[in-house]
């Protein structure tokens, strides 16, 4: 859905690329994937890698607690005012796909409160292999799986594995211990995804998130290369 009619000056309705004052809004990147695959750890590592050069913020979608937000706060990856938790009513995929209103509130409130921002990471609550983000909420999405979840997940496909703008296969350090074949995962992912990229990560070292951070920087470069939209009205 693209809404290009004039919404006057009182706030964008959906994924408009500009803020009510006509400036470019932050790039929004969603991170989804099954429970325990390392979404929050990836977000934390990205914050540590990018926070010195970019103005960024995080929205978490916890399923039944504020634990993900509190983990990020405890790890002090960002100042507390740059982290917001959205409550999802037992349905994390609804909040990122079918009814994105609470998440849009959160990203816009962050831009109002601590902006201008370059980048907002929107982390989904852990869900299943069909959970994807609405294009009304994020500009690009990362799907995080891990080698310990079974090396047949890329072969099985599903919307997250097949269509995410970046597939992250995390915990590669565990592969020998759980009998996962990384080459097979790479082949299966390529077969499912065509030209879409795949990053293999291990977050045991600080540099482990590097491929994901590089991909995020490239998306941001594309986002800012487009001339800023004309101010509204």
């Amino acid at each position: 859905m693209h809404l290009d009619h004039d919404h006057s000056h009182h706030g964008a309705v959906s994924a408009d690329a500009h803020r009510p004052d006509g400036t470019r809004r932050a790039l929004r990147i969603g991170l989804g994937g099954p429970v325990g695959s390392g979404k929050t750890a990836t977000v934390a590592a990205l914050c540590r890698q990018l926070r010195d050069t970019l103005s960024l913020a995080v929205v978490t979608n916890d399923i039944y607690t504020r634990e993900d937000a509190e983990f990020l706060l405890r790890e002090a990856v960002l100042p507390p005012e740059r982290i917001r938790a959205v409550e999802t009513g037992a349905c994390p995929h609804t909040a990122i796909r079918d009814d994105i209103s609470a998440n849009l509130e959160a990203v816009e409130e962050l831009e109002d409160a601590v902006g201008p921002l370059d980048l907002i990471l929107v982390e989904s609550g852990g869900d299943n292999l069909t959970a994807t983000f609405s294009r009304g909420l994020v500009d690009a999405q990362v799907f995080v799986i891990d080698v310990a979840g079974g090396d047949d997940i890329p072969r099985k496909g599903g919307p997250g594995v097949t269509t995410a703008d970046l597939l992250v296969v995390n915990k590669t350090d565990l592969a020998p211990h759980v009998g996962s074949d990384l080459d097979r995962m790479a082949r299966d992912a390529a077969a499912q995804r065509g030209d879409l990229p795949v990053a293999f990560t291990s977050l045991r070292s600080a540099a482990g998130v590097g491929p994901v951070a590089d991909w995020v920087r490239a998306r941001l470069a594309e986002w800012t290369a487009v001339p800023a939209p004309a101010p509204a009205g």
Partner: protein, 220 residues
């Protein structure tokens, strides 16, 4: 009047944030007061005839063209729970977003500009209904239905309640929803001073407690 517009607005899939709220059902389930379909029916009946009637009056008033600023002040005065007031304004903001996409309208634009932090949800709902060409009675029906539909969906998730039983509860309550909607719409036509002001103190108290829980499935 458009009957189909009413269906769009009243649909649980209308993306206005309601799915994350239980209408107090989560607190009632945790306290052991709501354990089965009969408990859901009693809970929904209580909600419908108290906060449901009150919210329906406000929304019907907005749909009838009463001053939304006055209605918003009434909503504040009727609601003693800070947690519920905050939830109502937040849901009002979320509903405003969906309503402006669905029914672009100067009345909605003006309300959004006047309340950048969100007007109360029933006031936004009534203004949205007006933008959609709906009258006070249809609007009140929409509120009556969402007053009980939200908790029913939440209880299916919270208790694993048989969804057919939950739906049967809603169907049994339909005549009472009609009564509540008619009362609310009649009052709204008589002006702000005639609006119903029924309340549910236990919902207010448990909403405050629920807002402080560290672990919960629903936002309210």
């Amino acid at each position: 009047m458009s009957r189909s517009a009413l269906l769009v607005l009243a649909d649980g899939r209308f993306p206005a944030g309601g799915h994350a709220h239980s209408g107090g059902a989560e607190a009632a389930v945790k306290a052991g007061r709501l354990t089965d379909a009969a408990g859901l029916e009693a809970f929904c009946r209580g909600r419908l005839h108290t906060v449901g009637l009150t919210a329906a009056g406000l929304a019907a008033g907005a749909a009838a063209g009463l001053d939304p600023h006055e209605l918003d002040a009434v909503a504040d005065a009727q609601n003693p729970s800070p947690a519920l007031r905050a939830a109502s304004r937040r849901l009002g903001r979320q509903l405003m977003r969906a309503a402006r996409a669905a029914w672009p309208d100067p009345g909605l634009d003006a309300l959004a500009a006047a309340f950048p932090r969100g007007a109360h949800q029933p006031v936004v709902l009534g203004t949205a209904a007006r933008a959609a060409g709906l009258g006070p009675e249809d609007t009140a029906h929409c509120v009556a239905y969402e007053t009980v539909g939200g908790p029913a969906t939440a209880v299916v998730r919270l208790l694993g309640l048989d969804p057919y039983q939950a739906t049967a509860v809603l169907a049994r309550l339909a005549p009472e929803m009609d009564e509540v909607a008619a009362r609310a719409a009649t009052a709204a036509r008589q002006g702000v001073d005639a609006l119903p002001a029924a309340s549910a103190p236990l919902l207010d108290i448990t909403a405050e407690q629920h807002a402080a829980w560290p672990v919960r499935l629903f936002a309210s």
